[in-house]
Amino acid sequence: MNDKKVLILGATSDVGKALAQVYAEQHFQLVLAARNVKDLEPIKSDFEIRNEAKVEIAEFEATDYSSHPAFIDKVGTPDICICVFGYLGDQTEAENNWDEAKSIMSINYIGAASILEEVAKKMTDKKTGTIVGISSVAGERGRQSNYFYGSSKAGFTAYLSGLRNRLFHKGIHVLTVKPGFIDTKMTAGMDLPKPLTASPLQVAKAIAKAARKKKNTIYVLSMWRLIMYIIKTIPEGIFKKLKL
């Protein structure tokens, strides 16, 4: 058994479960957090039985900001904290219903920033730790098809780079992950191009490796770096006319 502890926020997600597997195999203690604790129970027993892992579960609601300090007090300061939860939402719905737009923005940006501020405080006290935030390539340029999601991830990406800058001086590392497509519940039913789509386990392995090597930003599949470079260099005058 390793005495290192990893906190996974959004552990019922496909990427969260894959991360738990990767860290269980490396004998980390797991703290799995999600808004439906009941869904975490089978996941907990599974890792206990298969990996003989030490697993704690905890309830976590991203938009219940005021609960975040107590949450982190309860689960304790982890060595690694991975912010996995996210909400793609429905762009068209969000254009017609502000509640949906607000959900997208408050889960992906405010919720993430709120909890990571608390984690950062605790890690600063301990003078050690790694924070991983899963943002998205969608945050690199707003597109008509998902700009609420994209802008919230853009905010999160900017937040993470600021946090990295601040915590670097405290011996704490921050990793930003910008996965391209991942084959998960979030994208179920979408027709994703295979070569550009990673499996949750692929993403999880890449994250664990990048966290260990103290990388700043990763894309998982390197093709995405090129694609995003091209997308970012299209002049706005042309970009606005595209149907993206």
Binding site: D39, P42, I43, S45, D46, I49, R50, K185, A188
Partner: protein, 443 residues
């Protein structure tokens, strides 16, 4: 939409595959209009896990409870036997019953009520089943055991997914001292000898035989009986004793693409058999071997099913009652030989008694043969069906892709009783497979 099939790659069906993680997600899926059928790891050969809409259990695969003292395991229905073995063997436990592949799910094990090489003494999988939970057509979830929701329990074991989607199951394991099997292989000159050998070795925990379907004359029915016992610690070699419950992972071979069906003419089958026999040059051979090659010899080659070419193949497995069964077997083997419809693999086994509602096994002999799909095959198999019926036998649904509904109804004595229970829990045939439609169970 995606083309899917069973292990035999026949038939192919355009299908939408839906997965579920949690019970909640399953109930949501069941609320939709479409007809559907549960699908595990698709190791059934024919069309029992096929439909235009299927519900895959493969993401519902968490282990829930393992009592390492008493040997009781509870897990979700999509957990594979392979994963269970990885967990339980190092702790000194084994599956109570296992088929010839470990890549099946717990749900599939119940729905087909699978048997193993120990059926003659230890029965089928459901004998070790304490309880399961199942989601029925109306979305209700029922806890079933031999004493609770009895009729639903009985109709589900061997019920081919037609009563609902099994969510999880609790079953008893078997204590072992090592991950090894002490194996004995005995050569039988002909059919009479192998049938006698089965009797002589009926106290062996595990037994089955490879049978050569092509040889005629004096050697008609020549076979090799393979018996096994879980090896005790004392029986192990010094090397094996170092880690008695842990096997080293082995590299697997791959069949990378569909072989042309031509590779499987009677010549290649003969060559295969000759090779197989040459290895067993002595009458009796003994050894202590890891459990994997003993139980799962075919799992060493990934996708071996592709060897039959892109038209696929069917497996024909029937059982004939002890009384008169041998005569029927001779008839069938002779027919296969005369038509040159030889099977690459033929497995012969003796079953013990079993009187469950819809289970396949009955006391007698069971033979399983593979046939590549080609012109004339189905007509030929219909002729075999007639012989099976004539001798009071029946055909295993989890292997079937072509029998007709009448044969099914005639050969399973409790068929109408079972069907009535299916209709009670699945009134509008929400659960229907290509197979159950073909067999007029749900159509």
């Amino acid at each position: 939409m995606k083309k899917i099939s069973g292990w035999g790659n026949y038939p192919l069906v355009d299908s939408e595959i839906n997965r579920f993680d949690t019970e909640r997600e399953l109930v949501k899926l069941l609320a939709s209009e479409s007809k559907t059928i549960a699908r595990g790891n698709a190791r059934s050969y024919g069309d029992s896990a096929l439909a235009h809409n299927v519900i895959s259990s493969l993401s519902h695969n968490r282990m829930l409870y393992f009592d390492t003292e008493k040997g009781i395991l509870k897990c979700e229905s999509g957990v594979l036997f392979n994963d269970i073995l990885d967990v339980i063997v190092p702790k000194g436990w084994f599956l109570p019953v296992t088929p010839g592949t470990k890549f099946i799910t717990v749900g599939g094990a119940i729905a087909s009520d699978v048997h193993g090489k120990n059926h003659h003494g230890e029965g089928s999988f459901s004998n070790y089943l304490d309880e399961f939970e199942i989601a029925c057509a109306d979305g209700s979830i029922k806890i079933c055991s031999p004493s609770n929701e009895q009729e639903l329990y009985q109709a589900t074991c061997g019920g081919m997914g037609l009563t609902g989607v099994i969510l999880n199951a609790t079953f008893r394991l078997k204590k072992i001292e090592s991950a090894y099997i002490s194996q004995k292989q005995i050569k039988a000159k002909n059919l009479d000898e192998i049938v006698e050998l089965f009797d002589e070795y009926k106290s062996a925990t595990y037994s089955m035989a490879w049978i050569d379907c092509l040889k005629g004359g004096n050697a008609f029915g020549r076979s090799i009986l393979i018996c096994g016992e879980h090896a005790s610690f004392e029986e192990l070699s010094t090397n094996q004793k170092k880690a008695p419950l842990n096997l080293k992972p082995k590299k697997k071979l791959n069949v990378p693409f569909n072989f042309p069906a031509i590779a499987l003419n009677p010549f290649s089958i003969k060559a295969f058999n000759a090779l197989y026999y040459a290895k067993n040059y002595k009458k009796v051979m003994e050894g202590v071997i890891p459990y994997e090659p003993f139980f799962y010899p075919l799992d060493a080659i990934n996708n071996w099913n592709r060897m039959y070419g892109k038209n696929g193949f069917v497996q024909y497995q029937f059982v004939l009652p002890k009384e008169g069964g041998k005569e029927g077997l001779v008839k069938i083997l002779k027919k296969i030989r005369s038509k040159g419809m030889g099977s690459f693999l033929a497995v012969l086994k003796a079953f013990g008694e079993q009187n469950d509602l819809i289970a396949f096994p009955m006391e007698g002999l069971t033979l399983a043969l593979d046939f590549p799909v080609r012109k004339g095959l189905f007509e030929f198999l219909n002729e075999l069906d007639v012989i099976v019926l004539e001798y009071g036998g029946r055909i295993y649904l989890t292997k079937d892709a072509r029998m007709d509904g009448q044969t099914l109804a005639q050969s399973y004595p409790n068929f109408s009783k079972w069907k009535a229970i299916v209709e009670k829990y699945n009134p509008n045939f929400k659960f229907a497979s290509t197979q159950s439609d073909r067999l007029n169970i749900t159509s």
